[in-house]
Point group: C3
Chain length 146, copies 3
């Protein structure tokens, strides 16, 4: 299956997006250290005292970016894998994966740099188009069996 | 694999649940616009001013519904797919998927309409039964190899 | 596929981690009942009155533990499954899965018992090593096709 061109194309972008999510987690941790804003008292104690068990607006921003990734990239991992099984052409499939990938990278940039609205909302919405397209194509393929 | 009846039955309900999650995301966005309650200052600025960078109880309710979906529907996507590989009968498998699907749809309705407790907790618990059942059956299948 | 030794080894640990997440959800619910701290007014009403619609530090701790699991165990479910398709040796693959599994169990223990820092951060970081290793190996396998 990994030798199937469509599937390996999907896996390529999917794994890059997972790594992108790991990077946001690392950024969140670094911002917590730099701003001294820890979610847990035991972490605050280790880094100067309980007064650093507190919230920080930029830490919360990082966490919203990460949460939005979970809401959207995790479903893509499922939809993309099943979509590959429906036998799409490589060029059409690659277009789906590439649009989603680029939009989600831009979404993280727009979030972390607080780019002017509606940049983030627009890339979020465009990223949903290939997802809904894959969902519809999957449903059409399996509807006969369910 | 997509021509396997059990797997296509699973995929049918799984994709509908992913779409259900997308709908909750859309509802959250619409409630934010209607109630003017934005998580990010840049969004508030575009829609009237920084005073709309604020929390709203119904927006938080939508977010809890979405988060609970992530905690439960994402594991189902994994368990259901692997469970199909264990070779269950179509009728038993369909019962697992259907119970989970119906309970999670009712869970969203109970959450968004704030139905009287313990409606939401009951459908949440019933939805867990097919998941635990699938988990146990998978473990029994693979235990010999691990 | 379920008869493949590497895949069934992966599935074994993956399903145990999903069950571990379910247990954290159950703990969160029990703590909410014991501490009378409910996220929803309808739940508070059923358990004594609206004054119990409130936050509790230990409930929030449970929720952070669960959220961190979602951020890390869900990507593992994807990476692990795809990694199995790249044809690793059983002993190397088992080492990846086992390190991740043990570290994530320790992570939950460190979170729920508020163990002294940096216990939790260390096991979190060690758990990421097999994930990054699998991500890199997958990318090397599919890079030629993407």
């Amino acid at each position: 299956m990994i030798r199937n061109e469509v599937f390996s194309c999907f896996v390529f972008y999917a794994v890059l997006l997972v790594i992108k999510m790991y990077i946001i987690a690392i950024i969140t941790g670094q911002v917590r250290l730099r701003k001294k804003a820890f979610a847990n008292p035991e972490d605050a104690l280790r880094h100067g005292g309980l007064q650093f068990h507190r919230e920080d607006p930029y830490v919360e921003r990082c966490r919203r970016a990460h949460n939005n990734d979970m809401e959207n990239i995790f479903p893509f991992l499922f939809l993309g894998a099943v979509y590959c099984l429906t036998g799409p052409s490589l060029s059409v499939a690659r277009l789906h994966f590439l649009i989603f990938f680029l939009c989600r990278v831009l979404h993280s940039i727009a979030y972390l740099f607080a780019l002017q609205a509606p940049t983030r909302s627009v890339v979020y919405s465009v990223a949903q188009i290939p997802c809904v397209s894959m969902a519809v194509q999957i449903l059409m393929t399996v509807a006969a069996y369910a």
